[in-house]
């Protein structure tokens, strides 16, 4: 036996609770369980829940987790959470996992709603009224602060899109392949100042799938094996307005640090990098939060050509969400490109690449996952 339950509690009241919203029912039960175990929010590093998002629960409770499980398969979700938590704790992905449930099943207080406004969820109440139009306004809202803090120019932001178009030009399946200039980007339609059209991702259709098995079986399959060296994950907040620092993602930092630690690699080992680029600033945040660049230096790093074809750190080599494709949940395509690079089959193949890091983002800056892959058995 490797894992034990050390805290357990129900909500303070049961039955008819018209004075408590659904998320507060989760929190009330969680605080009671923490009291039962003698723990505080800072002692928890894993969150699993269904009905509400683990992002919302973690932020509401003040938890900065490195493990988040939102498996939602109905009333037995919590059994799956326990099973997954056992595996996660055994694997070192988390030390102390909180599994929460809360449901205003009778009173219907504070159910549903994820930020579109008109609802009772916290994002609906405190961000929904202000005219946000999804990612184009919410993902981008911190960038002016970054620009002021670090002196990044509009032209440097545009350069991200220009460099990724260079990569897309080498990829036959990319949606946009014609070269563009900084001037083209700056002249494209304003979507949400300071973001122009060509600094925003595409909206396309598509899909992807992956199959994983034990490494010892991998050579029985027809394709060159791509091994998972390490992983990391985290969630910060469902509300961009509540990020601790607009110029950096806490979820990136926690997910990236765990991925590097669990894989045992250092930055110099990385031959290929994917950073989910829904908007042009994402590669800048990713380069800094993963530790490839000091804070405030990633825009210059890209401008200097380090991430373009022939550069020392090839980044988003399919053209990314800005030029390759973006169906809405682009992370699958970033993983697919890392696999192609590790198989040696990418259209814009990085010569002799052995280690690929793939950083994803979700729900704007709400969540992050980071995967380190290699094609080397000895890596």
């Amino acid at each position: 036996m490797t894992v034990a339950i050390v805290g357990a509690a129900e909500t303070t009241q049961l039955g008819k609770i018209p004075d408590t919203s659904q998320i507060e029912l989760h929190a009330d039960a969680a605080l009671n369980a923490m009291a039962d175990a003698g723990l505080m929010p800072k002692d928890i590093d894993g969150v699993a829940t269904a009905g509400e998002s683990p992002v919302g629960i973690a932020h509401y409770l003040g938890i900065a987790p490195r493990y988040a499980d939102g498996t939602s398969v109905g009333g037995c979700s919590f059994m799956l959470h326990v099973r997954h938590a056992v595996a996660a704790i055994e694997a070192g992905m988390a030390d102390t996992v909180l599994v929460t449930h809360g449901e205003s099943g009778r009173s219907g207080i504070g159910r549903g709603g994820r930020g579109g406004g008109g609802g009772a969820g916290l994002p609906d109440q405190f961000e929904g009224p202000y005219g946000g139009m999804g990612p184009t306004t919410m993902f981008t809202i911190g960038v002016l602060r970054y620009m002021k803090q670090y002196g990044m120019t509009h032209e440097q932001l545009a350069t991200v899109a220009v460099v990724q178009r260079e990569w897309a030009g080498m990829s036959p399946r990319a949606s946009y392949r014609d070269p563009i200039t900084v001037e083209d980007v700056m002249a494209s339609r304003m979507i949400a100042y300071p973001f122009h059209l060509l600094e925003c991702c595409l909206v396309t259709d598509g899909g992807g799938a992956l199959i994983l098995t034990k490494a010892e079986r991998a050579k029985d399959f027809p394709q060159k094996p791509v091994y998972i060296m390490g992983t990391g994950e985290s969630v910060e907040t469902p509300m961009v307005s509540q990020m601790k620092d607009l110029t950096s993602s806490q979820a990136f930092r926690i997910a990236g640090a765990d991925a590097f630690k669990s894989s045992g690699i250092s930055h110099g080992d990385v031959d290929h990098l994917m950073v989910y680029d829904a908007f042009a600033h994402l590669p800048i945040w990713g380069l800094e939060d993963l530790g490839f660049c000091e804070r405030g230096e990633a825009a210059g790093f890209i401008e200097d050509g380090n991430t373009r074809p022939g550069g020392k750190l090839p980044l988003n080599t399919n053209g990314g969400g800005l030029s390759y494709m973006h169906s809405g949940m682009y992370g699958m395509y970033a993983l697919q490109e890392s696999v192609r690079q590790m198989r040696g089959t990418a259209p814009a193949q990085v010569p002799d690449a052995e280690v690929s890091v793939c950083l994803g983002v979700g729900g704007m800056f709400a969540a992050s996952g980071c995967i380190v892959m290699t094609n080397s058995e000895s890596a």
Binding site: S21, L61, I141
Partner: protein
């Protein structure tokens, strides 16, 4: 400000844990919460401190003063707003950050200068009053 034919902005539905905030805006006050164990001021509302987990917290009236932390100016059409309009994040004098709109000035990069001082103002929608900010 929205035209007559425009839909009203999406309005929140308060929950028991946020009611004090929305009662506050109707009374012309911006209300925050403070942990009585550790002193942390936090937002959005919840009946415990996200730092300590303590339920020993109080509601208090904030100054309504803030500075402009960051923003975008949305150029796409919105059913409730006249584009272009700003969506902003402000840093309250007491520490927490909030999303809002900046009103009472041009919706341009020249007029919206980061770190400019702001003060809260309130937009009445009947049962719900929305906190907005304007140059101080």
């Amino acid at each position: 400000m929205a035209d007559a034919e425009k839909r009203p902005r999406p309005l929140p539905r308060p929950t028991p844990e946020t009611q004090h905030f929305w009662d506050g805006t109707r009374a012309g006050e911006l209300r925050l919460q403070r942990c009585l164990d550790c002193g942390t001021v936090y937002f959005p509302p919840r009946p415990f401190c996200p730092g300590t987990g303590s339920r020993n917290v109080e509601v208090f009236r904030a100054s309504g003063k803030a500075t402009l932390l960051s923003y975008v100016i949305n150029h796409r059409q919105h059913p409730s707003f006249d584009s272009p309009y700003s969506i902003a994040l402000v840093q309250l004098e007491e520490g927490p950050t909030m999303m809002t709109n900046i009103v009472g000035c041009e919706q341009t990069p020249e007029a919206l200068v980061l770190d400019m001082p702001l003060e809260v103002t309130f937009e009445d929608h009947g049962d719900i009053v929305i906190p907005l900010f304007r140059p101080a």
